[in-house]
Amino acid sequence: MSSPPSGAAASGSPAPRRAEPEVAGRVPSAHSWSTHLRATLVLLLLSILVTGLAYPVVVTEIAQVINPYGANGSLLYFPNGTVAGSALVAQNTDAPYLFWERPSLTDYNTTLGTDTPPGPSDPALVNETLSYMAQYGYYTVNASVPFWLVSASGSSVDPDLTPEAVLVQIPRVATNTNLTEANLTAFVNAHIVSPVLPFVGVAYVDVLELDLDLLPMIGR
């Protein structure tokens, strides 16, 4: 084992500007092969115990105390106590009397993970957008429709919509319920989540929460 020799640089006088290395030849290894194997095995064993078990278990124990609602998936319930869904996961709400979510490439089936929508110059994008516009009832109406309402989200379960994309649905919901458009507008406006700070995030509406609040108003 070579110990660092005391060089000229350390003695205070300027070292000669030479190129030859301080260390010539092969520096021997500091550990034997058996030490390497032992160190590897012990290190991995300890790491598995700490990173794979202790770490998630301790975080979970604390999480269940500091934010049980979020830690358990932000679940939303029906009045009778059954789980309706998660505020963070979109579901199929295509009944005529409900506000609709963004389209999903996986039909809101979370077991499928997600999928990629067509690229911007892919001809398939035009057809896909057209079919969403038809599906959401804007193909023949020729009314203006926000792109957010008729485009596939990244996660396939984006639970949110821009306020405009919710407000544009009000005529349909009003036709299929006993509520007036004015009432529904006030109802939607009350559900707009404002940004935490004016420049953080955007204003949006969580559609599942909106629909769950709508159910008692329309007697369902």
Partner: protein, 565 residues
């Protein structure tokens, strides 16, 4: 036009990361030079106990060859553990979703992907990997691979402050990376993410009953603890296959900003750690400057091209294209927030996504590709800075030749031997992208049809992106509907590309560090290039951009450029 107010928060979060960097960099320097550091009272005795169990000690320092052997042993051990778990996951603990065993080639790809800090996945998390395989096996790699990267970065920098021909002790470096950096910060990060609404539970699935009937399975689990180390360790794997697009993993604009911060923390602090380790004033700034220039330009380009309305859809009457480009994006992030997360994620070689890269504009895709070509602005934990240091070594060598002086850096001479290793690391990157890429295209592994340039160049870009992401150990994916990468061909070639892309540059970094560590430190002479200067910062930035562009121009022309034109 972009509402300029919406840029304030990304300026704030980038500024916050930059403000924390000198302090955190100083802490990192203390950690990797065994100087007194915060936490010694508790952690020092624990570490001494671990060293005794391992049979090593901080006083035992290794030459590059032995450091590499130790690194490969630990990485191979973790690789074997993961391979076994994935290959046998249906019978191993914690399989609430009934995931079947992975095929050997998929397990080969996955284990290689995770240990190389890539976390490129060829499976659907929700149905093809068990919760135990994620939490126990994959999560081990989420810690071991950034610890390995940090160790390599530190070992390389030690070359400038040592004269005994050794680069440090790998086991000590990994243990201290875990106890001092990754575990404590990931722990705090996980709790912060829990407060922001990310699930953290051992109730694996909840059956929901949607309003319109039927059932919906909600997958939960210890997501926050996983996602926290995934981002901090520049891994980029997702608990969900939608990764950080998933509203459960990334519930709000605030959690998105936190993600940007935690991804940048270690990479942006590394130059400062370097400056403190070599104990010279101002030497960190050329690197910080280069990183910031490239990163900010990339973010700006990405935002501008995402903001533009899509002309292909202009013919659809009634379609209102405002508030950004929604296809493949999520409502809750403003356009600059989504873009910044995505660019930072790819440029820091994390690879997590918060929008679908296959759906963004070709220019934006090119911006992401460029970050994976450089791998160093700022690049992944430890290795990203190591790569930037290799660029600097080459830049100084070339600069020295141009003015006719012997190139030296921080009092150490740069000679052919270091340049040869640096060139190997740089050239292995395009080589390990282009060779499998050509094999895949010529071998008909991807549908390329000359009659449809639009869709074909998109597929072309997807394959190029795949191998680039794997070679850079990035992990982001540009998937298209027509391109299926979950085949034995892409599993095997992809795994080999990731292994080459990880361990060849690592060995080069260790060798360069060792060659420096064998030299005495020379005092600065009259002809020495002043590296702590604005001139050198601009020179390094231009050198990096020009070299990278030249290396990859042929490839870019065929994929993304064909799509743009």
């Amino acid at each position: 036009m972009i509402d300029l107010r919406s840029l304030w928060d990304i300026v704030a979060v980038l500024g916050l990361a930059l403000a924390a960097a000198p302090f955190f960099g100083d802490y990192l320097a203390r950690v990797y030079t065994n100087r007194p550091a915060f936490g010694d009272v508790v952690l020092a005795p624990i570490e001494r106990g671990i060293y005794r169990l391992l049979g090593t000690s901080p006083r035992k320092s290794m030459p590059a060859r032995e450091y590499m052997v130790a690194l490969l042993l630990v990485n191979a051990g973790a690789w074997l553990f993961m391979f076994w778990y994935f290959f046998d996951q249906s019978t191993l603990p914690l399989n609430p979703t009934g995931a079947p065993n992975m095929s050997w080639d998929l397990a080969f790809h996955s284990a290689s992907s995770f240990i190389t800090n890539t976390d490129f996945t060829h499976f659907t998390n929700e149905s093809q990997i068990s919760a135990g395989a994620i939490m126990i096996a994959w999560q081990l790699a989420l810690f071991i691979s950034p610890a390995t990267g940090l160790a390599v970065g530190a070992a390389m920098v030690r070359g400038f402050i040592r004269r005994d021909g050794t680069v440090g002790n790998f086991y000590v470096d990994v243990v201290r990376s875990l106890t001092r950096v990754l575990l404590p910060i990931a722990f705090v990060g996980a709790l912060i993410m829990v407060m922001m609404g990310v699930p953290e539970t051992f109730d694996w699935t909840v059956i929901a009953h949607p309003i319109t009937g039927g059932t919906q399975v909600l997958y939960l689990g210890p997501v926050a603890s996983y996602q926290s180390i995934s981002l901090l360790g520049t891994n980029g794997g997702g608990w969900y296959s939608a990764n950080m697009v998933s509203p459960l993993a990334n519930p709000s604009a605030v959690s998105n900003l936190f993600g940007i911060f935690i991804m940048l923390l270690i990479p942006i602090s590394s130059p400062f750690a370097f400056g403190r380790m070599v104990r010279r004033k101002g030497e960190e700034w050329p690197f910080v400057g280069t990183i910031l220039i490239v990163l900010v330009v990339a973010i700006a380009l990405f935002i501008v091209y995402q903001e533009a309305t899509n002309p292909a859809l202009a013919s659809l009457t009634g379609l209102v294209q405002t508030n950004g480009y929604p296809v493949g994006s999520e409502v809750r992030f403003s356009l600059p927030e989504g873009a910044t997360f995505q660019v930072v994620s790819v440029y820091a070689n994390v690879g997590a996504n918060n929008l679908m890269i296959g759906a963004v504009s070709p220019v934006a895709q090119l911006v992401l590709l460029f970050g994976m070509f450089t791998q160093s602005t700022p690049g992944g934990d430890g290795t990203g800075f190591g790569m930037l240091l290799l660029f600097a070594v080459l830049a100084i060598f070339v600069g020295g030749l141009m003015v006719g002086r012997t190139p030296e850096y921080l009092g150490k001479k740069i000679e052919t031997s270091q340049v040869r290793w640096a060139a190997l690391a740089l050239l292995s990157h395009p080589a390990s992208i282009l060779i499998p890429f050509v094999v895949a295209v010529v071998g008909g592994q991807v549908p390329i049809d000359a009659s449809t340039v639009g869709a074909s160049s998109h597929n072309f870009t997807a394959v190029l992106y795949e191998f680039t992401s794997e070679s850079a150990n990035n992990g982001s994916a540009l998937s298209t509907a027509a391109f299926n990468d979950a085949t034995p061909f892409f599993n095997i070639t992809g795994a080999l590309v990731m292994l080459v892309g990880r361990y060849v540059p690592i060995f080069a970094m260790l060798k360069v560090g060792e060659i420096f560590a064998r030299q005495r430190t020379l005092p600065a002479g009259p002809g020495t290039l002043r590296t702590a200067s604005g001139t050198f910062t601009i020179y390094l930035t231009l050198f990096l951009i020009i070299v990278t562009t030249l290396l990859f121009l042929p490839v870019i022309a065929m994929g993304p450029l064909a799509q743009i034109l």
